[in-house]
């Protein structure tokens, strides 16, 4: 009898214990994340780490900045696959996992589509940067399994990848429902359209000018898409250029304001003092030791127009004009980009003169675009100004360039885009009709193959308006003007040695150049810069063009050499060894 009871009890327990599945209580489950809108929103927040955070130095490697050390990438024979980087795919997996799992019917379809749109925006952004850097890359649209053969596959051609990227961004443009976010820190529909105009312009011009790819026939389709996307933002976005600070201040205001100026900025990397989220712009741009000591070169500064709309380089004798003279009556954006004239800094609440300082600059054209005036921010990462990632000016420029390349830019288009940007720069002529004269300087120094004056002027405007915002190197790549990276790093004109110069004409002498022994007695307050041919037995990197006078030249002794292979970075050596099927970019 007892034995039978035992059997009953045993069987009963076994049946009751069948459900052995336990949900982990310390980690979240898929249904909690994908089954609610707040879960999707939280997940989507993780995508934003792909965007540049607190970075004002994205142009450190460009043709128009002279820096402390010549970047290894452009030094002759210095760069190699062992030094390459950027082959990181963790962000993509995060996005793909979301895309593949965002299928829970508990969330309404329109909400799911909105977040899917955001995810596909970021996938487009991710792949766009990979294509710029490496050219052909493998297209991966789902999180890979450990045994997936695609892990060891080869790379897909850029045509395949960019078509998929276009599909992604089109979906994002159509399905992201948010049209306005007051903090300017979330991706909205207009951000998606603005990004579409950026990437389509890149791809269209890249295919047009890189004829060796054999893709010129498809270039115009891309340029069309860029123009359409930009027009959507222009017509329906409700954005406008910032003019609230008045002439001479509104341009820079966009970059030094703590909160993003909502009329012009679509998306920004926003800082927050309370959360201790700050960046190092002042420290980077005003330090003698930290950062790259980056300054503009004269060849680029020469492209800033005079206030009457004529090229500065058309003035006779411009080559031997001193700094004090050449900065007068120029595009007002120049004084909002570099130190000149009556620029003042604030030290302990008191305004002090702010001429270029030769312990921070090699060329004399010291940038102030991102650096706040108050010297309090100079010592370490204390900057509170938000950094615009997408702004209306870029959309206007994308539109103008796409239409100019297509040959369909009208006078009205010109007035609405370049005209407005120049008006903010205080320029008085040439705002309403397209240019018809070719600026000889711009063409011969920068774009010898361009014969269309409209394209030349659009490129000039883009370089000036978007300087230091991270566009320059990709622009050089897509215009196929890599040779610009070999340009001499020249500074302002020095009429003679020893005599100190008063760079901002405030009566206080600022800098003097000498050779051999430092002049004695030294004038107090003057920075003395040695331009002797050799210093300590080695070639002096800081010299004057004609030895005792002429433009400053920096680092001519380190050879830079642009080769065609450099239009793409090489696949890093460790990654190539792990998967030889990736193949290497030609020439590396």
């Amino acid at each position: 009898m007892k034995k039978q009871y035992l059997w009953f009890i045993l069987i009963g327990l076994m049946l009751a214990g069948c459900e052995l599945e336990q949900i982990p209580v310390s980690t979240t489950s898929k249904s909690a994340v994908f089954g609610s809108e707040s879960g999707l929103k939280l997940y989507a927040n993780s995508f934003y780490s792909i965007l540049p955070q607190g970075n004002t130095r994205q142009d450190a490697m460009s043709d128009y900045l002279a820096v402390k050390t010549v970047p290894t990438f452009v030094q002759e024979n210095a760069f190699a696959p062992t030094l390459s980087s950027g082959w990181a795919w963790g962000d993509l997996r995060n996005i793909n996992y979301f895309i593949v799992n965002n299928t829970d019917p508990k969330v309404p379809e329109s909400v799911r589509k909105n977040y899917m749109g955001i995810a596909r925006f970021f996938r487009a952004y991710f792949y766009f940067n990979k294509v710029i850097r490496f050219g052909n890359v493998p297209w991966i649209s789902k999180p890979l399994d450990v045994s997936d053969p695609k892990l060891y596959g080869g790379r897909d051609n850029r045509t395949v990848v960019m078509d998929s990227v276009l599909a992604d961004i089109n979906y994002a443009c159509e399905n992201i429902s948010t049209t306005n976010d007051n903090t300017r820190s979330l991706v909205t529909k207009w951000v998606a359209y603005a990004f579409k105009s950026r990437m389509c312009l890149f791809e269209g011009t890249f295919r047009k000018y890189h004829t060796e790819l054999g893709l010129t026939s498809s270039a115009n389709t891309w340029l069309d898409e860029a123009a359409i996307a930009a027009k959507k933002v222009i017509d329906e976005g409700g954005y406008s250029l910032n003019t609230s600070g008045g002439l001479g201040k509104s341009y820079r205001q966009v970059f030094i304001n703590p909160s993003p100026l909502g009329n012009e900025v679509l998306l920004a990397s926003v800082m927050d003092l309370a959360l201790n989220k700050l960046h190092d712009a002042n420290w980077y741009w005003t330090s003698g030791t930290y950062g790259d000591k980056a300054s503009f070169i004269r060849s680029f500064i020469n492209t800033y127009l005079k206030l009457d709309g004529t090229p500065f380089t058309s003035t006779a004798g411009y080559e031997t004009m001193t700094f004090m003279e050449e900065v007068k009556d120029r595009d007002l954006r120049l004084k909002q980009t570099i130190r000149l004239g009556d620029y003042k800094r604030i030290s302990g609440g008191v305004e002090i003169p702010g001429p270029p300082v030769f312990s921070y600059t090699f060329t004399g054209y010291q940038p102030i675009k991102w650096a706040l005036d108050d010297m309090y921010y100079d010592t370490r990462d204390l900057n509170i100004n938000s950094i615009a990632l997408f702004r209306y000016a870029e959309v206007l420029l994308n539109y103008a360039e796409a239409k100019a390349e297509l040959g369909t830019l009208t006078d009205a288009d010109w007035a609405a885009t370049i005209g407005q940007l120049r008006a903010r720069g205080g320029i008085t002529n040439g705002l309403t009709t397209k240019p018809t004269d070719i600026d000889q300087y711009l063409q011969s120094v920068y774009f010898p193959d361009i014969t269309d004056p409209v394209i030349l002027e659009v490129r000039r405007e883009r370089g000036i308006e978007l300087c230091l915002e991270g566009f320059r190197f990709p622009d050089i790549l897509r215009w196929k003007r890599g040779e610009l990276m070999n340009m001499e790093w020249n500074g302002f004109y020095v009429p003679q040695l020893v005599t100190p110069l008063d760079l901002n004409e405030d009566g206080i002498l600022d800098v003097a150049f000498y050779q051999g022994t430092k002049p004695s007695p030294a004038v107090s307050g003057v920075t003395y810069v040695d331009v002797s041919p050799t210093v300590g037995g080695k070639t002096n990197p800081m010299l004057l063009k004609n030895n005792t006078s002429g433009e400053l030249t920096w680092m001519n002794n380190i050879k830079r050499k642009w080769e065609d292979k450099m239009y793409y970075y090489p696949i890093p050596q460790t990654d190539l060894i792990t998967n030889p099927n990736l193949g290497q970019n030609p020439g590396w």
């Binding site: 050390t69 190699a80 795919w89 450990v146 380190i558």
Partner: protein
């Protein structure tokens, strides 16, 4: 026959560790995450230990002098017998690897002049001596073992390590110990020596205590560097032409890459403990109602010898501080001279037994 004076104990063992939980196969970066872990690794260790001791006594001045000597010697070698690395990439463990092996280049010497640089196999782009990527007389010259005109890591596999081969092993081999003891006429003496018979160490890039300003230009400069750097007048020096950051990276700098010349022999013998004491006569002890009293002087870590000291000099790096220290809780490789220094100590003592 030997009347119990000689004692011998010997061991031989084979230990198989199976199914160790470790990372999965390193996947290409497009996977986008670290691979899941699993029971992927097996290890086999073979080793032996012997211990010989001799105990005897003889009379000195009609009092017995007891002495004993014990010598121990042990060795082991571990080999990986299973691991998730079918291509045998050297960036990970691989099947057949002896634990602790060091892959490196063979150093030929220094470049003598520009013609030497031009005619030698290209060491760029794999590595550089100076930031300009140019090589000058006085820089390190490595052997192009596979004669392909380049000095590099090949495809970083066991089958194609480029110009590298196994140049040493960082596991300690042939560890030994020697205990000596004696007592006579209430004096007692003991000494313990120990050491490692065979071990190599390649100073890692951040070992400031070895590389000095070859790692970072603002590091301290060790004394043994002075007068020991290549100059056109001093071409026979140990170190190459002075160049900061020459040892900053283990794959792309001329000194950071493991190579035969700078592979250090860190075998050593150390006098760990030596002690001399005296048992005080019974009448002293009984005065305080103790059963025994002893006074002694002992010294710890008083003397070390290692071939490493021929290079780095004495009193600078302790040979026991070259290997990693606390591996239990961190994977950091503290070692490389960064451990808390080994301290010599001499102590005097009084022992009272109640």
């Amino acid at each position: 026959m030997l009347s119990d004076r000689l004692n011998f104990v010997g061991d031989y063992y084979i230990r198989n560790t199976t199914d160790m939980f470790t990372i999965g196969l390193t996947l290409p970066a497009v996977f986008g995450a670290t691979p899941p872990k699993g029971n992927y690794a097996d290890l086999k260790t073979k080793g032996w230990e012997i211990s010989i001791s001799w105990r005897d006594k003889f009379n000195v001045a009609s009092k017995p002098l007891n002495y004993d000597v014990r010598f121990t010697l042990a060795d082991n070698k571990s080999t990986i017998t299973r691991y998730n690395n079918p291509d045998k990439l050297l960036s990970d463990y691989y099947e057949g690897q002896v634990i602790g092996e060091i892959w490196g280049y063979t150093t030929e010497g220094f470049f003598i002049d520009q013609a030497d640089v031009d005619s030698h196999a290209k060491q760029s782009p794999q590595m550089r001596a100076s930031p300009t990527n140019l090589w000058f007389p006085g820089d390190i010259k490595l052997l192009d073992a596979n004669k392909d005109g380049f000095v590099n890591i090949g495809t970083n596999r066991v089958s194609d390590p480029g110009d590298r081969k196994i140049i040493g092993n960082r596991s300690p081999r042939y560890t030994f110990g020697l205990n000596l003891g004696a007592d006579w006429n209430n004096f007692f003496f003991s000494a313990f020596l120990m050491g490692v018979g065979k071990q190599q160490w390649y100073p890692s890039t951040e070992s400031e205590i070895f590389w000095g300003q070859y790692n970072r230009p603002y590091n301290n400069i060790p004394v043994f560097h002075l007068g020991n750097m290549w100059t056109p007048e001093n071409t026979d020096a140990y170190f190459p032409r002075t160049m900061s950051r020459a040892a900053s990276n283990a794959t792309t700098r001329e000194l950071g890459v493991a190579q035969t010349k700078y592979l250090q022999n860190v075998a050593y013998i150390k006098l760990r403990n030596i002690q001399l004491g005296y048992n005080l006569p019974q009448q002293f002890a009984s005065k305080i109602h103790a059963s025994a009293m002893q006074v002694y002087v002992s010294g710890e870590d008083l003397w070390t010898y290692s071939p490493l000291y021929k290079i780095v000099g004495r009193g600078h790096i302790d040979v026991e501080n070259t290997g990693p220290s606390d591996q239990m809780f961190t994977s950091s490789n503290a070692g490389d001279g960064y451990n808390y220094p080994m301290l010599k100590s001499v102590s005097f003592g009084l022992s009272v037994t109640f």
